[in-house]
Amino acid sequence: MTWFLDHLDVVWSRALQHSYLAGVPLVIGLLLALPLGWLARRYPRLYAPFTAGFGLLYTIPSLALFVILPVILGTRALDPINVVVAMTLYTVALLVRTVADALGSVPDHVQQAATAMGYTRVRRFFAIELPLAVPVISAGLRVAAVSNVSIVSVGTIIGVNQLGLFFSDGFDRDFYDPLFVGIVACVVLALLFDAVILLITRLATPWVRATGARA
């Protein structure tokens, strides 16, 4: 505990960097996955190749991806951009299927009712399908958020600044304090991400509470 208080500033700066490396890809990944998931739902022929194809990205081990990306992107090995790109790929990998399935979970009769009320396809998507798909998309986003926070710490091996550096600090010196602080900080950060997504989902889906359905 004293170690933690003595190193509060380092913990804070690494936690900020960690949130950036895990959070920015989450937003970019969601923005990329929405149109891709929509395409997979709109054109059934694309569903299998899209969901399976993007899902394959998830099979690449993070350590391997961190190592390969500088070769592909032409970036420097220690550039944090490698981590951002890797985490974005993982987020897209997890979310394309979720978005496609979430849009598919909107009942046909609801869509027909909207069409009958004169909604154009675009308006129907933004006013009806997307809001109703939010609970399912959010469930996928929560998994992606928590796994992103955990995976970013692997960046330690390639020396990127984030909370994982406390793991190697503690390990190299045979000293438990930084290790514990690093792990607890990672878990707290993951739970914070989760809580924020839950809160936004709650605000975006007032009807879920009104009808007593599970979100």
Binding site: Y47, A48, T51, A52, G55, L56, Y58, T59, I60, P61, L63, A64, V67, I68, V71, A93, L94, R97, T98, D101, A102, G104, S105, P135, V136, A139, G140, R142, V143, V146, S147, V149, S150, S153, V154, T156, I157, I158, L163, G164, F166, F167, S168, G170, F171, D174, Y176, L179, F180, G182, I183, C186, V187, A190, L191, D194, V208, A213, R214, A215
Partner: protein, 260 residues
């Protein structure tokens, strides 16, 4: 770089001996398989029990969520530091790796099992009870077969995560394909690192493809959309007849979070 990597991968001397690619693949698969087996023995019966009785669901869901948040690398370092003085020989490197992989594999396995049982059509369950089946018979003959697609989905997602994370075993001094990444980094031999990365990714893909084939033949045709007629599985709630090809944790959460 691509040429150098290709040269490294096709060099016959890298395909033999105790630090060759086949040996490392074998080590990698053996760590992964043992961890998955132990995790499955713990998680699947627990998941089935929760799905069947509906008891303890909230507790386990939260526990699994928290377990997902634990960074594998941090846990690995912690376990090595703690267990290394207590264990002798090679096991001092291996036991921490197994603990981390088991902790990693339990949440998706358990989620698949309980979401699968929970999602079974209540009419099917009622019919089985009406026929005079006991609780165990309902579980064994109705719930488990119906839950198989999601149990497999959890198993495949656990397998992918475990194979990817076994790469970290090399950090503790244990073997596996992570050795090429770690050793390559030490001597700054980039082509070795990239080759190792490629071999792990291919291994994960091959194992997942094999599991897809097993799933195809293990799951009842009535559930996969291979036969005509309305599917009684939980998947039908998503109005998708496509069997889940590549499984990711979201699949279970999606079913789990279906507004009902």
């Amino acid at each position: 770089m691509i040429n150098k990597t290709f040269a490294w991968l096709t060099d016959p001397s890298h395909w033999s001996g105790s630090d060759g690619i086949p040996t490392r693949i074998f080590e990698h698969l053996w760590y992964s398989a043992l961890a998955l087996a132990v995790a499955a023995l713990i998680a699947i019966p627990l998941g089935l029990a929760i799905g069947h009785t509906g008891r303890g669901r909230l507790f386990v869901v939260n526990l699994a969520g928290a377990a997902r948040a634990i960074p594998s690398l941090g846990l690995l370092y912690l376990m090595v530091l703690w267990l290394f003085p207590k264990i002798s020989g090679d096991n001092a490197f291996l036991v921490p790796v197994f603990i981390v992989l088991i902790v990693l594999a339990i949440p998706p396995l358990m989620a698949g099992a309980y979401a699968g049982v929970e999602g079974v059509d209540p009419a099917a369950r009622d019919a089985a009870k009406g026929m005079g089946m006991t609780g165990m018979q309902v579980l064994r003959k109705v719930e488990v077969p119906n839950a198989l697609p999601l149990i497999f989905s959890g198993f495949r997602s656990a397998t992918l995560q475990v194979i990817a994370t076994t790469t970290l075993a090399a950090i503790t001094g244990a073997g596996g394909l992570g050795r090429f990444l770690i050793d390559g980094q030490k001597i700054l031999q980039y082509e070795q690192m990239v080759s190792g990365a490629i071999v792990v990714a291919v291994l994960a893909l091959v194992v997942d493809a094999l599991l897809a084939v097993v799933q195809r033949y293990a799951v009842s045709p009535g559930l996969t959309g291979r036969s005509s007629g309305r599917s009684a599985s939980a998947l039908s709630t998503q109005r998708s007849n496509t069997p889940l090809d590549v499984e990711i944790p979201v699949a279970q959460r999606t079913v789990d979070s279906q507004p009902s």
